[in-house]
C-alpha cells in the first residue's frame, strides 16, 4: 500500500475499525456453487475466426507485395529513362530542327500561317 498522508491515517483507521461486518457465509453456499459448477462446462477458449486467420495470412503477404512494387517501379523507371544520344545523333537532330523551324516561321512570308 502506498504511503498515507498524516490526516488519512486516522481516517483509514476509523473506516477499517468501523466498517460494517460482512454477514456470515451461508454454509450451504459452497455446496450450491459447486453444484452449479458441476452442471456447467467452462467456456471454450476463443478460437480465431476464419476472418482473423485470413487477416493474419494477408499480413504475411505484405513484405513480398512491397518488394514486388519496388521492383516494378524500378523497372519502369529504367524503361522510361531516355538513353543519352551520341554526338552524331545530336548533330542530326539539330540539323533537322533548324531546317524544319526555319520553314515554319519564315519572317519574310506574312501569310506563313495560311499553310496549315
Amino acid at each position: 500500500m502506498s504511503k498515507l498522508p498524516k490526516d488519512d491515517h486516522k481516517l483509514v483507521d476509523f473506516i477499517r475499525q468501523n466498517c460494517p461486518e460482512v454477514p456470515p457465509t451461508n454454509q450451504d453456499l459452497e455446496a450450491k456453487i459447486m453444484a452449479a459448477v458441476a452442471a456447467t462446462t467452462p467456456s471454450e477458449p476463443v478460437k480465431p475466426s476464419p476472418v482473423m486467420s485470413w487477416r493474419r495470412r494477408s499480413l504475411w503477404l505484405m513484405p513480398p507485395a512491397i518488394a514486388a512494387s519496388l521492383l516494378i517501379g524500378w523497372g519502369t523507371n529504367q524503361l522510361l529513362t531516355p538513353v543519352p544520344l551520341t554526338a552524331t545523333e545530336l548533330a542530326s537532330l539539330e540539323y533537322f530542327i533548324e531546317n524544319t523551324w526555319d520553314e515554319a516561321i519564315e519572317p519574310d512570308r506574312p501569310d506563313w500561317y495560311l499553310d496549315f
Partner: protein, 189 residues
C-alpha cells in the same frame, strides 16, 4: 469458514487454475475457499447484503465459465476482482431506483443491538456505511479496494483498467468526501 487451502498455501493460483482447466472441480473448490471471503467482503461493501449470496455465486460461476479465457493464470486475483467489480456494477445498475443500502444496514443493525456498549460502535458503523453510500460508485470502489481490501494502487488500476493516476485521484477525492461527511456527523478524526 476455515479454508482447506490455508493448510496448503504453497499451491499457487496458477497451479490451481491449471487444475481447474483440466476439469478438476475440487481444485476449483480450493480457489473458492481461498477467495470467497475477499469477494464476499468487496461485494458487501459495494452492494450491501440483500442479495449477497446470489452475487457471490454469480462471481464464481463467471469465474468457472471464464477460466479457459484467462490468459495469465498468475494474475488470477486481479482477474477475479475485475469480475467481482463487473458483477457489483451490473447489480448497481439494476437496482439504481430501488431502496438504498441504508435500509439494509438499519435492518442488519437492529438485529445486532443487544449490548449497550456496542451502541457507539454500531453508530460509527452506520456512519461509515452511510458515508460509503454517499460516494459515487467509482469513488466507493477505489476506497473499498484500497483502504478496506488493502490492494495496491497498481493492481486496482489493472482491475478497473484505469491509469494509476486516475486511481490516486479517485482515492484522494473519495477520502476527502468521506472525511467531510464524517466530520459533519460529529466525528473528530
Amino acid at each position: 469458514m476455515v479454508s482447506g487451502d490455508v493448510a496448503n498455501p504453497q499451491l499457487s493460483d496458477a497451479h490451481l487454475v491449471e487444475g481447474c482447466l483440466k476439469g478438476d472441480r475440487q481444485t476449483f473448490r480450493l480457489l473458492y475457499q481461498r477467495y470467497q471471503h475477499k469477494v464476499r467482503s468487496t461485494l458487501y461493501q459495494l452492494c450491501g447484503g440483500s442479495v449477497l449470496d446470489d452475487l457471490v455465486q454469480d462471481v464464481f460461476l463467471r469465474v468457472w465459465k471464464g477460466l479457459p479465457k484467462l490468459k495469465n493464470p498468475q494474475h488470477f486475483s486481479t482477474w477475479l476482482y475485475r469480475i467481482t467489480w463487473n458483477v457489483a456494477s451490473d447489480r448497481r445498475k439494476q437496482f439504481a431506483q430501488q431502496r438504498s443500502q441504508l435500509e439494509t444496514l438499519n435492518h442488519h443493525a437492529d438485529l445486532r443491538i443487544s449490548d449497550v456498549s456496542d451502541l457507539m460502535h454500531l453508530h460509527y458503523q452506520d456512519l461509515v456505511q452511510k458515508g460509503l453510500a454517499e460516494l459515487s460508485f467509482d469513488h466507493r470502489t477505489v476506497l473499498v479496494l484500497h483502504d478496506l481490501e488493502d490492494l495496491p494502487q497498481k493492481q486496482i488500476a489493472e482491475i478497473l483498467q484505469l491509469p494509476v493516476g486516475t486511481v490516486k485521484s479517485r482515492l484522494f477525492h473519495a477520502r476527502a468526501a468521506m472525511r467531510k461527511f464524517l466530520e459533519q456527523q460529529g466525528v473528530q478524526l
